[in-house]
Every structure is written in C-alpha cells, then in structure tokens.
C-alpha cells in the first residue's frame, strides 16, 4: 500500500488500494494528467471490492425493516425436498394460529401443492413461484420475498414464516430479511448430511430433526444425528420431532412462541 509515483510535472501521488494478493502491478490506467502520451492504453483497472450478495443483502434489510416496522418476527425455514417441512408447518399452524397471527410465504418452483396443504389453517398465505423460464430458481432471494410480502397484510400479522424451496445448498446463501433461520432435517436423509452441506447446517439457529418415528427402521440413532449436527454447528438448538405423530413438537412450538414474542 501507499505506492508513490513521481510524475514529470512534479506531482506525487500514491495508490492506496490494498490488493490483498500478489499480482504484477501494471499501470495501464489513464491518470488524466495529460503527460502519458504514447503510454496510456485506455484500459483502466477499477478497484471494486464489493460483495456479490450486496444487492440481495440491501433488499433483505428492506424486508427486515418492513417486518420490524409492523412488530413482526420473520423465520426462514429451509430443508431438503421431502424432509416434511410442509407437514411441520401444517402442525405448527394448527397449534399456533389461535395465539399468533401467522403469515406464510410459500416458495415453490411451479406448483401450489404446498400452499393448498396449508390453506384453511388460519394463516395468510402468499405463494411465490420461482420458475422464470430457466426451470425455476433453486432458492428464494430477498427481491422475491419482497414481492411476496405484497401478498400479506403486514398490519395484522405477528409472525411470518418463509418456507424456502427444498434444497440444502442455495437457500443458505441468501438472506431474505428473516430474524432467524430454521431447518427441517429428517432422519431418512442419512446422518452424514451436516458434513456434506456444512454451509446450510452452520447457517441455522434451530434444527428440527424430523421423522424420529422412523428411527427404529434405520441404522443410526437420534444421538448420532445430533452429534453430526453439533460437529458443524455447536450452538444450534436441535429438536428431535415427528410431525406425523406429534412427538417432540411441543418443544418446537415453545421455541417458536419465544421467537415470536421477541419483538
């Protein structure tokens, strides 16, 4: 840093950019001093140093501020396809829709199948199809959720749950404006998934270990799943549940009650 250059006209200036890595320091940029005739190529290097997710993160902050302005807590719920996310949500609405005014933003690549399962359970639902001509986005991002917020009446809500697209990779990268991230991880997916998808498992505050009623039919026990999650995310709340039988679900409902009240 601070590399000084003396020009023919006696001016001295420095380039304060920190490149952070080794590369040949070519000075092809046109400084506009008029003293580089025959030297400048017209090519200029512009230091950018801007996060590629910056625009998404700005939009996520706008969403978060909109939720906060209405006293709403927002949860981003993620999982692989078929983990039981919608079944968990249906049971959650049956338990909590009388206590809290809940809005669901339902991410789905092309169908309304999940939204239909959640209808009639006392929640406002805003369906967000992500197909865009390229076969459908694999995640929800902040601008998409911003559009879906328009389908909810924020004035009347306490809690918004964003049901993300089923996928253990991409959704972990995109802040959508939530206050916490949760995931549903079912025991039928195998106990190695936290190690294979560490970015997702590290990103969440709470893990619902679902389908524990099926553990007797599998090779691993609940403790094995819990220790694998702990290996990548020692701080996560881990709640073994069966959305089908209701086992363990009261712990999840209580976690959600505490979360919803933290306005």
């Amino acid at each position: 840093m601070g590399r000084f250059h003396r020009h023919d006209d006696g001016t001295v200036h420095s380039h304060d950019h920190d490149h952070g890595h080794e590369h040949e320091h070519e000075h092809e940029h046109d400084h506009g001093h008029g003293d580089h005739s025959g030297y400048a190529t017209g090519t200029e290097r512009i230091e950018v140093l801007e996060a590629i997710f910056a625009e998404n993160d700005n939009r996520a902050d706008i969403n978060r501020n909109a939720f906060q302005a209405h006293g709403i807590r927002a949860l981003n719920l993620m999982s692989s396809p078929g983990s039981g996310k919608t079944t968990v949500l249906a049971a959650t609405l049956d338990e909590l829709a009388g206590e809290f005014a809940v809005g669901i933003i339902e991410g789905d690549i092309a169908t309304d199948l999940d939204a239909a399962k959640l209808e009639g359970r006392g929640a406002q639902i805003s369906l967000l199809n992500t197909s865009n001509g390229f076969g459908g986005e694999c995640h929800l991002d902040a601008p998409m959720v911003n559009r879906a917020i328009g389908g909810l009446d924020l004035n009347t809500l306490d809690l918004v749950i964003v049901e993300n697209v089923g996928n253990l990779v991409c959704p972990a990268e995109f802040d959508v404006g939530e206050h916490a991230k949760a995931m549903v991880y079912s025991v039928t997916e195998g106990e190695d998934k936290p190690l294979k998808y560490p970015v997702m498992f590290r990103s969440v505050d709470v893990v619902l270990l679902n389908k524990i009623d099926l553990v007797p039919h599998l090779d691993a026990d609940v403790d094995t799943y819990i220790s694998r999650v702990r290996e990548v995310n020692p701080g996560a709340v881990i709640l073994p549940v069966s959305a089908r039988t209701g086992e363990g679900m009261s712990a999840w409902f209580n976690w959600l009650r505490d979360f919803a009240r933290k306005t």
């Binding site: 490149h19 952070g20 890595h21 017209g42 090519t43 200029e44 290097r45 512009i46 230091e47 950018v48 140093l49 801007e50 996060a51 590629i52 997710f53 910056a54 625009e55 998404n56 390229f134 986005e137 694999c138 995640h139 991002d141 996928n167 990779v169 991409c170 972990a172 990268e173 190690l195 294979k196 560490p198 970015v199 590290r202 702990r230 290996e231 990548v232 995310n233 020692p234």
Partner: protein
C-alpha cells in the same frame, strides 16, 4: 446450482462501476466455503455477459482457502476438508471462520 443468478449479480455489481465503458476483465474472489462450482460459473458467465451487453468480458476467479480460529485450542489453521470446518488441531467444531467465505468482485478492467 444457482450460478446463473450469481452471474447476474456479478454483472449487476460490474455495471454500477463500469458505467458505459467496455468491460474487458472481471476479477472475482471465491472462498473455499462458498458453494460455487467454478466450471458452472464460467459457463453461466458466457451466457450472462452477452445478455448484459459485455460480450468481451473475461471472468477471472481467485480462490481463497478457508482458515478457522479455534475457540478451544486457540490456534488458527487451514481446514483439511471442505466438508468440515472443525479445527484440524483439536477437532473442536467451536471455531470462527477467518477466511474462506469471500464472494466479491475485487476489480474490473474497462476501456
């Protein structure tokens, strides 16, 4: 998996800095913990750059290895496997990621 949207985001960042000038090179830093497939990103870039009116823009990727600072043993070390951020010295998972999560446009060459 989502490299097409990532390329659009890259193009968005580039355009705000390049303005109307021709973009020749786009340099992007990618941390080892980012779930970016380099071949897929390079392929998607060839589609997006035409769409975004910067057909000659080359994408240069710089990879940043991941390092963790262990809260257990206090050591800072490069991780051994991209599947785990556990401390290579003491195996603790209670670590802070020091680097490896970068995903940014560092510079662009324009004419």
């Amino acid at each position: 998996m989502h490299e097409l949207s990532l390329c659009r985001a890259i193009a968005g960042v580039v355009k705000t800095h390049a303005g109307e000038r021709r973009v020749d090179v786009v340099r992007v830093q990618v941390g080892a913990l980012r779930q970016v497939v380099p071949d897929s990103l390079a392929f998607c870039w060839t589609i997006v750059r035409d769409d975004e009116n910067m057909p000659g823009a080359e994408l240069e990727l710089e990879f940043i290895p991941a390092e963790v600072q262990c809260h257990g043993c206090g050591q800072q070390s490069p991780i051994e496997s991209r599947f785990s951020v556990a401390c290579p010295q003491c195996r603790s998972a209670d670590v802070a990621v020091v680097c490896g999560e970068e995903f940014m446009v560092t510079s662009v060459d324009v004419t």
